[in-house]
């Protein structure tokens, strides 16, 4: 008899494919978004089954919570437009279907022909982990061995928030939403708890799954809840602080690299004696930047002292 966990995997795989198809074909746009949120949850389970808990953490925090909220907000904004069905001709659909089927078959043949047992880079990482300053391999890769990637990723976040702020501006003038006393009590309990958990995720990243991105995403969720419930409302005067938050991570990351380089080493070749301190410093600052940027990406417009209605002209 097959291992029952393999049956679980197969079911999960089939469910994921079914969800992916359903997201594209379901007619109701709200259902589409809910299905996509669930697709994210199931993806996180698949990462877990592939023994990638770090990826599962990132997917659970960013892929589901933040992406879901962003899509709901967008749908709310464009709800007035009836989904005008511009029909695509059947010929185009079939041609594309054939093309995609060919892509799938080609990739599947290539995948089946490749051995899954290739050694990969795990031995090199394991060999050098002692010199990296942290005990968890994924964190070591992200912040030491491939730190350039991570720096560029923070730059991508900055580019995204610059783009979003250029697309839309204005401050919200609707009165604060009132979600009731029970919600307020919950917020009083949950918001500090999420802050603690986010910090814990950041800290635990040194020796177990977790780290700057997961911690930052959890902290961004706090920002989301504050923005949604109207407990915090962005004002034009807060822009300098927000901007400082956006660039803080990059600034510290890059200056550590330059400082290390000025000591006659390569950038990001941290001296082993201080590696742990430097990595924790960078991670802490990057976490703040990620949290601020993600929350601002959700809010989606530069707080400027013009009412939203005027920007629509």
């Amino acid at each position: 008899m097959a291992d029952p966990l393999l049956i679980f995997d197969a079911l999960l795989g089939v469910a994921l494919i079914a969800l992916a198809i359903a997201v594209l074909v379901v007619r109701d746009r709200f259902a589409m978004i809910v299905l996509f949120i669930i697709f994210g949850l199931m993806t996180a389970l698949a990462w877990v089954r592939l023994s990638a808990p770090d990826v599962a953490l990132a997917e659970a925090a960013i892929g589901t919570g933040l992406a879901g909220a962003l899509m709901l907000k967008t749908l709310h904004h464009i709800r007035a437009a009836p989904a005008a069905p511009v029909p695509v001709s059947v010929g185009v659909v079939f041609a594309n279907m054939g093309f995609c089927a060919m892509v799938f078959v080609g990739l599947a043949i290539a995948f089946m022909a490749t051995s899954l047992e290739a050694p990969g880079l795990a031995p090199q990482v394991a060999q050098n982990i002692d010199a990296s300053g942290v005990a968890h391999p994924v964190t070591a890769v992200l912040l030491n061995f491939r730190a350039y990637d991570t720096l560029m990723e923070v730059v991508v976040l900055l580019a995204a928030i610059i783009a979003v702020w250029m697309i839309e501006r204005g401050i919200e003038q609707a009165p604060a939403r009132h979600l009731g006393e029970i919600y307020r009590g919950f917020a009083r309990l949950a918001l500090p708890a999420i802050v603690v958990i986010g910090t814990y995720l950041l800290w635990v990243g040194a020796y177990a799954p977790g780290g700057a991105f997961q911690g930052g995403a959890a902290l961004a969720a706090v920002g989301l809840l504050l923005l949604l419930s109207g407990l915090y409302r962005p004002q034009p005067a807060h822009r300098p602080i927000a901007r400082l938050g956006f660039v803080l991570g990059i600034a510290v990351f890059a200056s550590v690299a330059l400082l290390v380089a000025s000591g006659g080493r390569l950038p990001f070749e941290y001296p082993p004696a201080h590696a742990k301190t430097l990595i924790l410093l960078i991670e802490g600052v990057v976490t703040i930047s990620i949290a601020v940027t993600l929350a601002a990406l959700f809010h989606g417009r530069e707080p400027e002292a013009i009412p939203v209605s005027e920007t629509r002209a």
Binding site: A15, F30, P53, A190
Partner: protein, 86 residues
């Protein structure tokens, strides 16, 4: 023991996949969000069982994040629906 636990996992997975029907059929957005909530809770339960089966205590952290962030999309939905009514 682990076989029995795996079977329980499959049962939970099948039961939430049944919930998909409710999402597809609707009719109201509130019900669709409700079904998504069911998926979140059941995923936490599955992660707890998996953390024992795969001997990975780190999965508990994943479950913790799931439990905390499940509320975010729902709060977002409720707030936006409130705005719409104004």
């Amino acid at each position: 023991m682990s076989t029995a636990l795996s079977i329980t996992l499959i049962v939970i997975l099948l039961s939430i996949l049944g919930g998909l029907i409710r999402i597809l059929r609707g009719p109201s957005p509130a019900e669709r969000m409700l079904a998504a909530q069911l998926f979140g809770t059941a995923s936490v339960a599955m992660l707890l069982i998996l953390s024992h089966l795969m001997a990975m205590p780190a999965l508990l952290d994943v479950a913790l994040v799931f439990a905390l962030l499940a509320a975010v999309t729902l709060v977002c939905f409720v707030v936006l629906a409130e705005e719409e009514r104004r």
